[in-house]
Amino acid sequence: MEASAIVMMIIGIVIIWGGLAASIVNAVVKAKKRGPESEAES
Protein backbone atom coordinates (compact mmCIF):
# COMPACT_ATOMS: atom_id res chain seq x y z
CA MET A 1 0.00 0.00 0.00
CA GLU A 2 1.18 3.50 -0.76
CA ALA A 3 1.86 5.92 2.09
CA SER A 4 -0.99 8.25 1.07
CA ALA A 5 -3.46 5.33 1.12
CA ILE A 6 -2.25 4.23 4.56
CA VAL A 7 -2.59 7.79 5.89
CA MET A 8 -6.15 8.12 4.57
CA MET A 9 -7.07 4.72 5.97
CA ILE A 10 -5.80 5.73 9.40
CA ILE A 11 -7.56 9.12 9.24
CA GLY A 12 -10.83 7.45 8.24
CA ILE A 13 -10.58 4.85 10.99
CA VAL A 14 -9.62 7.38 13.67
CA ILE A 15 -12.38 9.86 12.81
CA ILE A 16 -15.24 7.44 12.10
CA TRP A 17 -14.58 4.62 14.55
CA GLY A 18 -13.08 7.12 17.01
CA GLY A 19 -16.20 9.26 16.71
CA LEU A 20 -18.37 6.23 17.42
CA ALA A 21 -16.24 5.22 20.42
CA ALA A 22 -16.22 8.79 21.78
CA SER A 23 -20.02 9.13 21.52
CA ILE A 24 -20.57 5.77 23.24
CA VAL A 25 -18.09 6.65 26.02
CA ASN A 26 -19.76 10.04 26.46
CA ALA A 27 -23.18 8.38 26.79
CA VAL A 28 -21.91 5.87 29.35
CA VAL A 29 -20.03 8.48 31.42
CA LYS A 30 -22.97 10.92 31.47
CA ALA A 31 -25.40 8.13 32.38
CA LYS A 32 -23.15 6.99 35.24
CA LYS A 33 -22.87 10.57 36.53
CA ARG A 34 -26.65 10.89 36.64
CA GLY A 35 -26.94 7.66 38.60
CA PRO A 36 -28.78 4.40 38.10
CA GLU A 37 -32.25 5.96 38.12
CA SER A 38 -31.68 8.27 35.19
CA GLU A 39 -29.70 5.54 33.44
CA ALA A 40 -32.81 3.39 33.50
CA GLU A 41 -34.95 6.30 32.28
CA SER A 42 -32.76 7.12 29.31
Binding site: M1, E2, S4, A5, I6, V7, M8, M9, I11, G12, I13, I15, I16, W17, G19, L20, S23, I24, N26, A27, K30, A31, S38, E41, S42
Partner: protein, 503 residues
Amino acid sequence: MENRPQWGSRVGFIMAAAGSAIGLGNIWRFPGVAYENGGGAFFLPYLFALLTAGIPILILEFTIGHRNRAAAPGSFAKIRRGFEGIGWWQLIISFVISVYYAAVIAWALSYTVFSFNLRWGDDTQGFLFGEYLKLAETPGEFGGIVPGVFIPLVIVWVVALFILYSGVKRGIEAANKIMLPLLFVLFTILVIRALTLEGAADGLNAFFKPNWSTILNGKVWVAAYSQIFFSLSIGFAIMVTYSSYLKKKSDITNNAFITGFANSGFELLAGIGVFSILGFMAMQQGVEVNDVVSKGVGLAFVVFPQIINTLPALNGLFGFLFFASLVLAGFTSLISIVETYIAGLQEKFGISRTKAVLFGGGVTAIVSIIFSSNGGLYFLDVVDYFINNFGVALAGLVEVIAVAWIARELGKLQEHANSISDIKLGLWWKVCLAVITPVVLGYMMIDSLIKNFKSNYEGYETWFVTAYGWVVVVLAIVIGFLLPYIKGKTAAGSVSDSKEVSQ
Protein backbone atom coordinates in the same frame (compact mmCIF):
# COMPACT_ATOMS: atom_id res chain seq x y z
CA MET B 1 -56.91 4.32 22.36
CA GLU B 2 -54.06 1.91 22.96
CA ASN B 3 -51.28 2.96 25.25
CA ARG B 4 -48.15 4.06 23.43
CA PRO B 5 -45.45 1.39 23.27
CA GLN B 6 -41.88 2.27 24.18
CA TRP B 7 -38.35 0.92 23.93
CA GLY B 8 -37.13 -1.20 26.82
CA SER B 9 -33.77 0.57 27.03
CA ARG B 10 -31.58 3.21 25.44
CA VAL B 11 -29.39 0.46 23.98
CA GLY B 12 -32.50 -1.06 22.41
CA PHE B 13 -33.39 2.20 20.68
CA ILE B 14 -29.84 2.78 19.43
CA MET B 15 -29.63 -0.80 18.13
CA ALA B 16 -32.93 -0.37 16.28
CA ALA B 17 -31.96 3.03 14.82
CA ALA B 18 -28.50 1.81 13.80
CA GLY B 19 -30.02 -1.43 12.48
CA SER B 20 -32.34 0.62 10.32
CA ALA B 21 -29.53 2.79 8.96
CA ILE B 22 -27.17 -0.14 8.34
CA GLY B 23 -28.65 -1.82 5.31
CA LEU B 24 -27.77 -3.31 1.96
CA GLY B 25 -26.42 0.02 0.68
CA ASN B 26 -23.70 0.07 3.32
CA ILE B 27 -22.28 -3.17 1.96
CA TRP B 28 -22.83 -2.89 -1.76
CA ARG B 29 -23.09 0.84 -2.47
CA PHE B 30 -20.66 2.78 -0.28
CA PRO B 31 -17.39 1.03 -1.32
CA GLY B 32 -18.08 1.61 -5.03
CA VAL B 33 -19.26 5.22 -4.54
CA ALA B 34 -16.16 6.07 -2.48
CA TYR B 35 -13.86 4.50 -5.07
CA GLU B 36 -15.51 6.29 -8.01
CA ASN B 37 -15.32 9.65 -6.26
CA GLY B 38 -11.70 10.00 -5.31
CA GLY B 39 -10.98 7.02 -3.04
CA GLY B 40 -9.39 8.28 0.18
CA ALA B 41 -10.09 11.89 -0.83
CA PHE B 42 -13.84 11.08 -0.75
CA PHE B 43 -13.65 10.83 3.04
CA LEU B 44 -13.35 14.60 3.31
CA PRO B 45 -16.71 15.45 1.63
CA TYR B 46 -18.23 12.31 3.16
CA LEU B 47 -17.36 13.33 6.73
CA PHE B 48 -18.41 16.91 6.01
CA ALA B 49 -21.78 15.61 4.76
CA LEU B 50 -22.17 13.39 7.82
CA LEU B 51 -21.59 16.30 10.20
CA THR B 52 -23.49 18.99 8.29
CA ALA B 53 -26.48 17.00 7.01
CA GLY B 54 -26.62 13.40 8.22
CA ILE B 55 -26.36 13.90 11.97
CA PRO B 56 -28.27 17.24 12.02
CA ILE B 57 -31.22 15.65 10.16
CA LEU B 58 -31.09 12.62 12.45
CA ILE B 59 -31.28 14.97 15.45
CA LEU B 60 -34.17 16.84 13.79
CA GLU B 61 -36.17 13.65 13.15
CA PHE B 62 -35.40 12.20 16.60
CA THR B 63 -36.58 15.46 18.18
CA ILE B 64 -39.76 15.71 16.08
CA GLY B 65 -40.75 12.12 16.96
CA HIS B 66 -39.80 12.38 20.62
CA ARG B 67 -41.48 15.73 21.27
CA ASN B 68 -44.69 14.93 19.41
CA ARG B 69 -44.90 11.24 20.40
CA ALA B 70 -46.72 10.10 17.28
CA ALA B 71 -46.01 8.41 13.96
CA ALA B 72 -44.85 10.69 11.14
CA PRO B 73 -48.27 12.07 10.07
CA GLY B 74 -49.24 12.92 13.65
CA SER B 75 -45.82 14.30 14.48
CA PHE B 76 -45.79 16.64 11.48
CA ALA B 77 -49.41 17.62 12.09
CA LYS B 78 -48.46 18.69 15.59
CA ILE B 79 -45.92 21.10 14.12
CA ARG B 80 -48.52 22.53 11.77
CA ARG B 81 -51.86 21.02 10.80
CA GLY B 82 -51.12 21.30 7.07
CA PHE B 83 -47.90 19.31 7.42
CA GLU B 84 -49.72 16.02 8.04
CA GLY B 85 -49.43 15.27 4.32
CA ILE B 86 -45.63 15.34 4.56
CA GLY B 87 -45.83 12.49 7.06
CA TRP B 88 -48.22 10.46 4.88
CA TRP B 89 -46.09 11.12 1.80
CA GLN B 90 -43.07 9.72 3.66
CA LEU B 91 -45.14 6.69 4.73
CA ILE B 92 -46.14 5.99 1.12
CA ILE B 93 -42.45 6.20 0.15
CA SER B 94 -41.68 3.65 2.89
CA PHE B 95 -44.43 1.42 1.54
CA VAL B 96 -42.95 1.54 -1.98
CA ILE B 97 -39.42 0.86 -0.73
CA SER B 98 -40.51 -2.06 1.43
CA VAL B 99 -42.20 -3.88 -1.45
CA TYR B 100 -38.98 -4.24 -3.42
CA TYR B 101 -36.52 -4.26 -0.51
CA ALA B 102 -38.08 -7.54 0.71
CA ALA B 103 -37.39 -9.08 -2.70
CA VAL B 104 -33.67 -8.29 -2.48
CA ILE B 105 -33.52 -9.87 0.98
CA ALA B 106 -35.24 -12.92 -0.54
CA TRP B 107 -32.48 -13.15 -3.16
CA ALA B 108 -29.82 -12.90 -0.45
CA LEU B 109 -31.62 -15.60 1.53
CA SER B 110 -31.56 -17.91 -1.50
CA TYR B 111 -27.88 -17.19 -2.09
CA THR B 112 -27.11 -17.95 1.57
CA VAL B 113 -28.42 -21.45 0.92
CA PHE B 114 -26.73 -21.66 -2.50
CA SER B 115 -23.39 -20.88 -0.83
CA PHE B 116 -23.14 -24.32 0.73
CA ASN B 117 -22.68 -26.07 -2.62
CA LEU B 118 -21.75 -23.01 -4.73
CA ARG B 119 -24.86 -23.63 -6.79
CA TRP B 120 -24.22 -20.63 -9.03
CA GLY B 121 -21.44 -22.52 -10.84
CA ASP B 122 -18.83 -20.80 -13.01
CA ASP B 123 -21.16 -18.53 -14.97
CA THR B 124 -22.44 -16.43 -12.08
CA GLN B 125 -24.08 -13.82 -14.31
CA GLY B 126 -25.88 -16.44 -16.36
CA PHE B 127 -27.01 -18.16 -13.16
CA LEU B 128 -28.42 -14.97 -11.62
CA PHE B 129 -30.32 -13.68 -14.63
CA GLY B 130 -31.10 -16.97 -16.33
CA GLU B 131 -31.44 -19.78 -13.85
CA TYR B 132 -32.36 -17.92 -10.65
CA LEU B 133 -34.33 -14.78 -11.62
CA LYS B 134 -35.41 -16.21 -14.99
CA LEU B 135 -35.33 -12.61 -16.16
CA ALA B 136 -37.77 -11.53 -18.85
CA GLU B 137 -36.25 -10.49 -22.15
CA THR B 138 -37.75 -7.02 -22.19
CA PRO B 139 -38.32 -4.52 -19.37
CA GLY B 140 -41.98 -4.14 -18.48
CA GLU B 141 -42.84 -7.77 -19.19
CA PHE B 142 -44.24 -9.47 -16.06
CA GLY B 143 -44.07 -13.09 -17.19
CA GLY B 144 -44.96 -15.48 -14.41
CA ILE B 145 -44.07 -15.96 -10.78
CA VAL B 146 -40.60 -17.40 -10.23
CA PRO B 147 -40.94 -20.00 -7.43
CA GLY B 148 -37.24 -19.73 -6.49
CA VAL B 149 -37.79 -16.05 -5.61
CA PHE B 150 -41.39 -16.30 -4.43
CA ILE B 151 -40.76 -18.90 -1.70
CA PRO B 152 -37.94 -17.02 0.07
CA LEU B 153 -40.01 -13.83 -0.34
CA VAL B 154 -42.85 -15.45 1.59
CA ILE B 155 -40.36 -16.49 4.30
CA VAL B 156 -39.02 -12.92 4.51
CA TRP B 157 -42.51 -11.51 4.97
CA VAL B 158 -43.57 -14.11 7.51
CA VAL B 159 -40.50 -13.38 9.66
CA ALA B 160 -40.72 -9.58 9.25
CA LEU B 161 -44.43 -9.43 10.04
CA PHE B 162 -44.03 -11.74 13.03
CA ILE B 163 -41.35 -9.42 14.43
CA LEU B 164 -43.61 -6.41 13.86
CA TYR B 165 -46.64 -8.18 15.32
CA SER B 166 -44.61 -8.93 18.47
CA GLY B 167 -44.44 -5.22 19.23
CA VAL B 168 -41.84 -2.52 19.68
CA LYS B 169 -40.00 -3.95 22.67
CA ARG B 170 -40.58 -7.68 22.28
CA GLY B 171 -40.42 -7.64 18.51
CA ILE B 172 -38.36 -4.84 16.92
CA GLU B 173 -36.01 -4.22 19.85
CA ALA B 174 -35.43 -7.91 20.57
CA ALA B 175 -34.82 -8.71 16.88
CA ASN B 176 -32.32 -5.86 16.53
CA LYS B 177 -30.52 -6.87 19.69
CA ILE B 178 -29.89 -10.27 18.12
CA MET B 179 -29.49 -9.38 14.45
CA LEU B 180 -27.22 -6.33 14.69
CA PRO B 181 -24.48 -7.90 16.87
CA LEU B 182 -24.73 -11.07 14.77
CA LEU B 183 -24.30 -9.01 11.61
CA PHE B 184 -21.24 -7.32 13.11
CA VAL B 185 -19.68 -10.65 14.15
CA LEU B 186 -20.32 -12.37 10.79
CA PHE B 187 -19.11 -9.41 8.77
CA THR B 188 -16.02 -8.94 10.93
CA ILE B 189 -15.05 -12.59 10.41
CA LEU B 190 -15.53 -12.05 6.67
CA VAL B 191 -13.36 -8.90 6.69
CA ILE B 192 -10.60 -10.62 8.67
CA ARG B 193 -10.57 -13.49 6.16
CA ALA B 194 -10.61 -10.99 3.27
CA LEU B 195 -7.63 -9.11 4.72
CA THR B 196 -5.56 -12.29 4.75
CA LEU B 197 -6.14 -12.96 1.05
CA GLU B 198 -3.41 -12.42 -1.49
CA GLY B 199 -3.91 -9.07 -3.25
CA ALA B 200 -5.91 -7.54 -0.37
CA ALA B 201 -3.34 -4.76 0.02
CA ASP B 202 -3.76 -3.80 -3.64
CA GLY B 203 -7.50 -3.58 -3.16
CA LEU B 204 -7.13 -1.43 -0.06
CA ASN B 205 -4.62 0.75 -1.88
CA ALA B 206 -7.17 1.35 -4.66
CA PHE B 207 -9.88 2.13 -2.10
CA PHE B 208 -7.93 4.49 0.14
CA LYS B 209 -5.46 6.12 -2.28
CA PRO B 210 -6.66 9.73 -2.44
CA ASN B 211 -7.25 11.37 -5.77
CA TRP B 212 -7.17 14.99 -4.62
CA SER B 213 -8.02 16.35 -8.06
CA THR B 214 -11.63 15.24 -7.49
CA ILE B 215 -12.10 17.26 -4.32
CA LEU B 216 -13.13 20.46 -6.15
CA ASN B 217 -15.58 18.61 -8.35
CA GLY B 218 -19.15 19.43 -7.31
CA LYS B 219 -20.37 15.97 -8.35
CA VAL B 220 -18.12 14.36 -5.74
CA TRP B 221 -19.70 16.49 -3.01
CA VAL B 222 -23.18 15.65 -4.28
CA ALA B 223 -22.21 11.94 -4.25
CA ALA B 224 -21.04 12.32 -0.63
CA TYR B 225 -24.27 14.01 0.47
CA SER B 226 -26.34 11.45 -1.46
CA GLN B 227 -24.52 8.55 0.17
CA ILE B 228 -25.04 10.01 3.66
CA PHE B 229 -28.65 10.92 2.94
CA PHE B 230 -29.71 7.59 1.42
CA SER B 231 -27.80 5.50 3.90
CA LEU B 232 -29.05 6.98 7.18
CA SER B 233 -32.77 6.12 6.85
CA ILE B 234 -33.67 9.81 6.92
CA GLY B 235 -36.46 11.49 4.96
CA PHE B 236 -38.94 8.63 5.05
CA ALA B 237 -40.44 8.63 8.52
CA ILE B 238 -38.38 5.87 10.12
CA MET B 239 -36.44 7.92 12.65
CA VAL B 240 -39.51 10.02 13.54
CA THR B 241 -41.47 6.82 14.24
CA TYR B 242 -38.67 5.12 16.19
CA SER B 243 -37.96 8.15 18.38
CA SER B 244 -41.67 8.50 19.18
CA TYR B 245 -41.26 5.30 21.24
CA LEU B 246 -38.52 6.82 23.43
CA LYS B 247 -39.26 7.51 27.05
CA LYS B 248 -39.86 11.15 27.97
CA LYS B 249 -36.46 11.60 29.58
CA SER B 250 -34.32 10.27 26.76
CA ASP B 251 -31.19 11.64 25.19
CA ILE B 252 -31.57 12.85 21.61
CA THR B 253 -28.31 14.31 20.32
CA ASN B 254 -25.82 11.76 21.64
CA ASN B 255 -28.06 8.98 20.33
CA ALA B 256 -27.98 10.65 16.91
CA PHE B 257 -24.17 10.86 16.98
CA ILE B 258 -23.92 7.17 17.94
CA THR B 259 -26.36 6.16 15.19
CA GLY B 260 -24.63 8.30 12.55
CA PHE B 261 -21.12 7.13 13.41
CA ALA B 262 -22.24 3.48 13.74
CA ASN B 263 -23.66 3.63 10.23
CA SER B 264 -20.51 5.21 8.80
CA GLY B 265 -18.33 2.86 10.85
CA PHE B 266 -20.03 -0.12 9.25
CA GLU B 267 -19.66 1.47 5.80
CA LEU B 268 -15.93 1.83 6.40
CA LEU B 269 -15.73 -1.81 7.52
CA ALA B 270 -17.64 -2.84 4.38
CA GLY B 271 -15.26 -0.79 2.21
CA ILE B 272 -12.25 -2.53 3.75
CA GLY B 273 -13.83 -5.97 3.30
CA VAL B 274 -15.14 -5.48 -0.21
CA PHE B 275 -11.95 -3.92 -1.60
CA SER B 276 -9.71 -6.55 0.03
CA ILE B 277 -11.77 -9.17 -1.79
CA LEU B 278 -11.74 -7.21 -5.07
CA GLY B 279 -7.94 -6.95 -4.74
CA PHE B 280 -7.78 -10.73 -4.44
CA MET B 281 -10.01 -11.14 -7.50
CA ALA B 282 -7.91 -8.71 -9.56
CA MET B 283 -4.76 -10.61 -8.64
CA GLN B 284 -6.34 -13.95 -9.58
CA GLN B 285 -7.38 -12.61 -12.98
CA GLY B 286 -4.13 -10.70 -13.54
CA VAL B 287 -5.94 -7.40 -14.05
CA GLU B 288 -6.10 -4.02 -12.27
CA VAL B 289 -8.49 -3.53 -9.32
CA ASN B 290 -10.17 -0.87 -11.46
CA ASP B 291 -11.27 -3.59 -13.90
CA VAL B 292 -13.20 -5.59 -11.29
CA VAL B 293 -14.86 -2.80 -9.29
CA SER B 294 -18.65 -2.85 -9.31
CA LYS B 295 -21.51 -2.06 -6.97
CA GLY B 296 -25.14 -2.90 -6.28
CA VAL B 297 -26.82 -6.09 -7.41
CA GLY B 298 -23.92 -6.91 -9.77
CA LEU B 299 -21.35 -6.74 -6.97
CA ALA B 300 -23.35 -8.87 -4.56
CA PHE B 301 -24.86 -11.50 -6.81
CA VAL B 302 -22.42 -11.73 -9.74
CA VAL B 303 -18.95 -10.58 -8.64
CA PHE B 304 -19.02 -11.99 -5.09
CA PRO B 305 -20.05 -15.51 -6.18
CA GLN B 306 -17.19 -15.39 -8.74
CA ILE B 307 -14.76 -14.48 -5.98
CA ILE B 308 -16.15 -17.14 -3.66
CA ASN B 309 -15.51 -19.72 -6.41
CA THR B 310 -11.83 -18.83 -6.54
CA LEU B 311 -11.11 -18.78 -2.81
CA PRO B 312 -8.42 -21.26 -1.75
CA ALA B 313 -10.52 -22.83 1.05
CA LEU B 314 -13.83 -22.67 2.95
CA ASN B 315 -15.63 -21.15 -0.04
CA GLY B 316 -19.05 -22.15 1.24
CA LEU B 317 -18.47 -20.63 4.67
CA PHE B 318 -17.27 -17.36 3.11
CA GLY B 319 -20.36 -17.24 0.90
CA PHE B 320 -22.58 -17.93 3.88
CA LEU B 321 -20.95 -15.12 5.88
CA PHE B 322 -21.43 -12.63 3.06
CA PHE B 323 -25.01 -13.45 2.11
CA ALA B 324 -26.15 -13.97 5.70
CA SER B 325 -24.75 -10.49 6.42
CA LEU B 326 -26.85 -9.11 3.58
CA VAL B 327 -29.94 -10.87 4.96
CA LEU B 328 -29.39 -9.52 8.49
CA ALA B 329 -28.60 -5.98 7.30
CA GLY B 330 -31.69 -6.11 5.10
CA PHE B 331 -34.02 -7.42 7.80
CA THR B 332 -33.16 -4.77 10.39
CA SER B 333 -33.86 -2.11 7.76
CA LEU B 334 -37.02 -3.73 6.39
CA ILE B 335 -38.76 -3.94 9.76
CA SER B 336 -38.04 -0.26 10.40
CA ILE B 337 -39.47 0.71 7.02
CA VAL B 338 -42.68 -1.29 7.52
CA GLU B 339 -43.06 -0.06 11.11
CA THR B 340 -43.57 3.50 9.80
CA TYR B 341 -46.91 2.70 8.18
CA ILE B 342 -47.93 0.12 10.78
CA ALA B 343 -47.70 2.95 13.34
CA GLY B 344 -49.38 5.42 10.99
CA LEU B 345 -52.33 3.10 10.31
CA GLN B 346 -52.75 2.32 14.01
CA GLU B 347 -52.94 5.98 14.93
CA LYS B 348 -55.06 7.13 12.01
CA PHE B 349 -57.72 4.45 12.28
CA GLY B 350 -57.37 3.60 15.97
CA ILE B 351 -56.84 -0.07 15.19
CA SER B 352 -54.83 -2.67 17.09
CA ARG B 353 -51.26 -3.50 16.19
CA THR B 354 -52.35 -6.94 15.02
CA LYS B 355 -54.86 -5.47 12.55
CA ALA B 356 -52.36 -2.87 11.35
CA VAL B 357 -49.71 -5.56 10.76
CA LEU B 358 -52.17 -7.86 9.01
CA PHE B 359 -53.57 -5.12 6.79
CA GLY B 360 -50.51 -2.90 6.18
CA GLY B 361 -47.97 -5.70 6.10
CA GLY B 362 -50.30 -8.03 4.22
CA VAL B 363 -50.99 -5.54 1.42
CA THR B 364 -47.28 -4.81 1.09
CA ALA B 365 -46.41 -8.49 0.97
CA ILE B 366 -48.99 -9.08 -1.77
CA VAL B 367 -47.77 -6.13 -3.84
CA SER B 368 -44.17 -7.30 -3.47
CA ILE B 369 -45.05 -10.47 -5.40
CA ILE B 370 -44.56 -8.29 -8.52
CA PHE B 371 -40.85 -8.43 -7.75
CA SER B 372 -40.82 -12.21 -7.78
CA SER B 373 -42.00 -12.20 -11.40
CA ASN B 374 -39.79 -12.68 -14.43
CA GLY B 375 -39.62 -8.95 -14.94
CA GLY B 376 -39.00 -8.23 -11.23
CA LEU B 377 -35.42 -6.98 -11.55
CA TYR B 378 -36.35 -4.34 -14.15
CA PHE B 379 -39.24 -3.04 -12.04
CA LEU B 380 -37.01 -3.01 -8.97
CA ASP B 381 -34.26 -1.10 -10.74
CA VAL B 382 -36.55 1.68 -11.95
CA VAL B 383 -38.73 1.98 -8.84
CA ASP B 384 -35.66 2.02 -6.55
CA TYR B 385 -33.94 4.76 -8.55
CA PHE B 386 -36.97 7.03 -8.83
CA ILE B 387 -38.35 6.61 -5.33
CA ASN B 388 -34.93 7.36 -3.83
CA ASN B 389 -33.96 10.28 -6.04
CA PHE B 390 -37.37 11.93 -6.38
CA GLY B 391 -39.13 10.48 -3.35
CA VAL B 392 -36.81 10.25 -0.36
CA ALA B 393 -34.60 13.17 -1.35
CA LEU B 394 -37.54 15.44 -2.24
CA ALA B 395 -39.47 14.49 0.91
CA GLY B 396 -36.37 15.25 2.98
CA LEU B 397 -35.99 18.61 1.27
CA VAL B 398 -39.65 19.51 1.82
CA GLU B 399 -39.45 18.35 5.46
CA VAL B 400 -36.45 20.58 6.19
CA ILE B 401 -37.91 23.62 4.41
CA ALA B 402 -41.30 23.14 6.09
CA VAL B 403 -39.86 22.86 9.59
CA ALA B 404 -37.06 25.41 9.28
CA TRP B 405 -38.56 28.07 7.01
CA ILE B 406 -42.35 27.74 6.98
CA ALA B 407 -43.09 26.75 10.58
CA ARG B 408 -39.82 28.28 11.89
CA GLU B 409 -39.81 25.52 14.47
CA LEU B 410 -36.06 24.89 14.77
CA GLY B 411 -35.73 27.06 17.87
CA LYS B 412 -38.41 25.13 19.78
CA LEU B 413 -37.02 21.79 18.64
CA GLN B 414 -33.52 22.87 19.69
CA GLU B 415 -34.86 23.86 23.09
CA HIS B 416 -36.58 20.49 23.46
CA ALA B 417 -33.49 18.50 22.44
CA ASN B 418 -31.21 20.55 24.71
CA SER B 419 -33.52 20.07 27.68
CA ILE B 420 -32.98 16.31 27.67
CA SER B 421 -29.68 15.71 25.84
CA ASP B 422 -26.05 15.37 26.88
CA ILE B 423 -24.69 17.27 23.88
CA LYS B 424 -26.25 20.74 23.58
CA LEU B 425 -27.16 22.05 20.15
CA GLY B 426 -25.90 25.43 19.07
CA LEU B 427 -26.23 27.72 16.07
CA TRP B 428 -24.34 25.19 13.91
CA TRP B 429 -27.34 22.85 13.97
CA LYS B 430 -29.75 25.50 12.71
CA VAL B 431 -27.32 26.64 10.00
CA CYS B 432 -26.84 23.05 8.81
CA LEU B 433 -30.59 22.45 8.58
CA ALA B 434 -31.82 25.82 7.39
CA VAL B 435 -29.05 26.59 4.91
CA ILE B 436 -26.65 23.77 4.03
CA THR B 437 -29.13 20.89 3.78
CA PRO B 438 -31.74 22.69 1.63
CA VAL B 439 -29.05 24.05 -0.70
CA VAL B 440 -27.39 20.65 -1.20
CA LEU B 441 -30.63 18.67 -1.47
CA GLY B 442 -32.09 21.32 -3.80
CA TYR B 443 -29.03 21.13 -6.04
CA MET B 444 -29.20 17.30 -6.00
CA MET B 445 -32.84 17.47 -7.03
CA ILE B 446 -32.31 19.91 -9.91
CA ASP B 447 -29.25 17.97 -11.08
CA SER B 448 -31.21 14.67 -11.08
CA LEU B 449 -34.17 16.26 -12.88
CA ILE B 450 -31.98 17.69 -15.65
CA LYS B 451 -30.18 14.37 -16.04
CA ASN B 452 -33.44 12.44 -16.29
CA PHE B 453 -35.08 14.88 -18.69
CA LYS B 454 -32.05 14.69 -20.97
CA SER B 455 -32.03 10.90 -21.14
CA ASN B 456 -33.99 8.00 -19.71
CA TYR B 457 -32.53 6.24 -16.71
CA GLU B 458 -30.33 3.32 -17.87
CA GLY B 459 -31.67 3.79 -21.39
CA TYR B 460 -35.03 2.22 -20.55
CA GLU B 461 -37.96 3.04 -22.84
CA THR B 462 -39.90 6.21 -22.02
CA TRP B 463 -43.19 4.41 -21.26
CA PHE B 464 -41.39 2.14 -18.79
CA VAL B 465 -39.66 4.90 -16.78
CA THR B 466 -42.85 6.94 -16.89
CA ALA B 467 -45.12 4.14 -15.67
CA TYR B 468 -42.87 2.68 -13.00
CA GLY B 469 -40.72 5.69 -12.16
CA TRP B 470 -42.42 9.07 -12.56
CA VAL B 471 -45.97 7.80 -11.96
CA VAL B 472 -44.93 6.04 -8.72
CA VAL B 473 -43.21 9.22 -7.52
CA VAL B 474 -46.22 11.44 -8.36
CA LEU B 475 -48.70 8.95 -6.89
CA ALA B 476 -46.76 8.92 -3.61
CA ILE B 477 -47.11 12.71 -3.40
CA VAL B 478 -50.79 12.77 -4.42
CA ILE B 479 -51.88 9.93 -2.12
CA GLY B 480 -49.75 11.31 0.71
CA PHE B 481 -51.39 14.73 0.58
CA LEU B 482 -54.91 13.29 0.09
CA LEU B 483 -54.75 10.93 3.08
CA PRO B 484 -55.13 13.69 5.69
CA TYR B 485 -58.60 14.32 4.24
CA ILE B 486 -59.72 10.75 4.93
CA LYS B 487 -61.47 10.78 8.24
CA GLY B 488 -59.88 8.41 10.73
CA LYS B 489 -60.85 7.44 14.23
CA THR B 490 -57.95 9.43 15.61
CA ALA B 491 -57.21 12.85 14.21
CA ALA B 492 -53.51 13.02 13.55
CA GLY B 493 -52.00 15.76 15.60
CA SER B 494 -54.30 15.09 18.49
CA VAL B 495 -52.56 11.89 19.51
CA SER B 496 -52.33 12.18 23.24
CA ASP B 497 -49.36 11.42 25.42
CA SER B 498 -51.10 8.37 26.75
CA LYS B 499 -49.56 6.05 29.28
CA GLU B 500 -46.34 4.46 28.07
CA VAL B 501 -46.18 0.70 28.01
CA SER B 502 -43.55 -1.78 26.99
CA GLN B 503 -44.81 -4.14 24.29
